[in-house]
């Protein structure tokens, strides 16, 4: 993609002024989510989605361009094979399960 500098009509200062508090709050939500996992009752194993989230956080902070698209690709199924049927896996999970995906609920739209 070509240079995107200047495609947002706001200045850096204006963007921070308009959006900082909203994104500060979202970052704190992520931190609290990770803290909550640490406080969970003993016995559970780390879920593949936790690992994907932490990988994505590294990517967000790497200073490179196109963070959103790269995070979405990180969460995407890159396989080529097509299962015959969706029996037992109607919903999506948000990240790729290392073995075979499963799930019954999911987003509606």
């Amino acid at each position: 993609m070509s240079d995107l500098t200047g495609t947002c009509p706001l200045s850096r200062e204006q963007i921070v002024g308009q959006y900082f508090l909203e994104h500060r709050a979202r970052l704190l939500d992520i931190a609290a989510f990770l803290d909550r996992l640490d406080r969970s009752v003993a016995g559970g194993q780390p879920d593949f989605r936790e690992q994907a989230l932490v990988q994505a956080l590294h990517l967000v902070a790497d200073g490179g361009p196109q963070r959103t698209a790269r995070v979405l690709n990180l969460f995407s199924d890159m396989s080529q094979q097509l299962p015959q049927s969706a029996h037992g896996m109607k919903g999506a999970l948000g990240a790729v399960k290392p073995a075979e995906a499963a799930g019954t609920a999911g987003a509606s739209a």
Partner: protein, 270 residues
């Protein structure tokens, strides 16, 4: 201000949502056939649903001065049983004659299976045979990237002009491919699983306003029937012109949808 919400599932919304949308400037909606949250047990269930979409909803919308149009199909979440899906697809031609049916949609893939792909291809052929516009559903979350590519390949194998096909639920990792291949792109303003008004505005800033629209896809899940006016406000907050805001929320939907001769807005709306 006036806008069109070109993808919203009003059968799942209450009448006061129509009222609030009208108060916010909505002049028309288009409603693709979709999954009810559970699998219907017979093709007859779809026949009833298609009657609701073509007979009942236009009347309910008209109470608030909103034009209601629809798209018909078996959605990908219920298309994994090919025999069942074919029974439903066989019902569609008789409904295509209705005054408010704009085309076939929202067809696509859900879990990117061979069964879903077979029915997608058959519904593309249905659109081809009946010269219908197509509205495409792309899969959720981790399945979107792969599914969007499979869907575009299936569409490109048909004779349908990509300018008559809108691929919905694009995100930052799929929008460029969709536009580069000549299709229209829809951004869905849906909490948790799709776009926010802020991200949708970012996409317009990065990829331009040609062949792109926004919709709420409001339905029975956590969703917002006022998402499009909220996106308009977000664009306004960033200083974008009224002309650009109207283009992506009113003019572009009107341009794409007007490829169907059935899409008409009242004289007072334009």
């Amino acid at each position: 201000m006036k806008y069109i919400d070109p993808h919203i599932h009003m059968v799942s919304r209450t009448t006061d949502d129509y009222q609030r949308m009208a108060q916010s400037g909505c002049i028309a909606v288009t409603e693709p056939a979709f999954w009810a949250g559970f699998d219907r047990s017979s093709a007859q269930g779809f026949a009833d649903y298609f009657r609701q979409l073509t007979e009942y909803e236009p009347r309910r919308a008209a109470l608030f001065g909103i034009r209601h149009f629809t798209w018909l199909c078996i959605n990908p979440k219920e298309a994994d049983d090919p025999a069942f899906a074919r029974d439903v697809v066989a019902l569609i031609p008789q409904f295509l004659k209705c005054d408010t049916v704009l085309g076939i949609g929202e067809i696509g893939l859900n879990k990117n299976t061979k069964n879903e792909l077979i029915i997608l291809e058959e519904q593309i052929r249905l659109a081809e045979e009946h010269n219908q516009l197509i509205l495409v559903h792309t899969p959720h979350l981790e399945d979107k990237r792969k599914g969007t590519r499979l869907i575009m390949d299936a569409l490109s194998a048909s004779t349908i002009d990509p300018g008559r096909i809108l691929i919905d639920h694009v995100e930052e990792h799929t929008v460029a491919d969709v536009l580069d291949r000549g299709f229209w792109a829809g951004m869905t303003l849906y909490p948790d699983t799709k776009m926010t008004p802020q991200r949708a505005t970012d996409v317009i800033e990065m990829y331009g306003s040609e062949r792109i629209w926004m919709n709420s896809a409001g339905d029975w899940g956590c969703s917002d029937p006022l998402a499009v006016p909220k996106a308009r406000l977000e664009m306004q907050r960033r200083g974008h012109s009224a002309q650009l805001i109207d283009r992506v929320t009113l003019d572009n939907p009107r341009t794409f949808l007007s490829q169907s001769p059935k899409f008409r807005l009242g004289a007072e709306s334009v």
